[in-house]
């Protein structure tokens, strides 16, 4: 399953997306926590900063990571809890990639024009 074949790539992407999402989660909770300082606090300043286009592209990557990590997590659950999962893990990984792309395209269609249009 490993040794440079699909299973290994599935693992590497799962690891990278997982670490990235965990770090994003910490930043996200910190940043939404600023809402406690009230409307005159630093919250809006922070958000305005993060609404700039480089961070919105970053959010697209976060969403891609969420979709891949979630779907590949389902693949891992199927591999661990069914008798047939490991036999079909390679096909399921390609399924994960296809589904990630399929969910990603409508997101890009919605979000990219928003970024190009600048602040709403």
């Amino acid at each position: 399953m490993y040794r440079g074949r699909e299973g290994q790539w599935a693992f590497v992407l799962h690891r990278i997306s997982g670490v990235a999402l965990a770090l994003y989660l910490l930043l996200h909770v910190f940043d939404v926590g600023l809402v406690m300082y009230g409307p005159k606090g630093p919250f809006n300043v922070f958000l305005a900063f993060y609404h700039q286009w480089p961070f919105r592209i970053g959010l697209i990557l976060v969403m891609a990571a969420v979709i891949y990590h979630g779907l590949n997590g389902l693949r891992i659950i199927v591999m661990d809890f069914t008798s047939w999962g490991i036999k079909y893990q390679r096909g399921m990984w390609y399924g994960v990639l296809v589904l990630t792309t399929a969910l990603g395209i409508p997101i890009l269609i919605k979000v990219v024009p928003e970024i190009l249009a600048g602040k709403a």
Binding site: V19, N44, G73
Partner: protein, 142 residues
Amino acid sequence: MAARPRTLEQARATYDTNRELAWWVFMRISGFLLIFLVFAHIFFNNIQINVATVDYAYVAERLSKAWVKVYESFLLGLAMLHGSNGLRYSIEDYFRNPATRFWLKAVVFTVAAGLFVVGVMALWAFSYQQMGDAINAVGHGG
């Protein structure tokens, strides 16, 4: 599965494995639940609206709803546990030096625990409704 432990050393290894087994099961259960929680969270806040319109008023209005508080509490708790345990797996895989492992994990767990408290406070400790009413009374300021 290893054979029944016959020495203290083996028993220690086995019991450690049982705790690891519990985390292993937790990662799968929490992961399954997080798929729904996170996908919906992203859909409501990033897809259904333009995320650039999110500001204090939007978040305050959202966090004033009881179901959002409950929903986000589950999301916060499961994601923090799933994320910090995942970071622990990664640290243990890539750092061999015991001191480095200890300090990295200490930092990750401290930051995660602290931010969990921040998240719980942000969800439950404030009346954004009252804050919002106060703001509306004086007009939207920026």
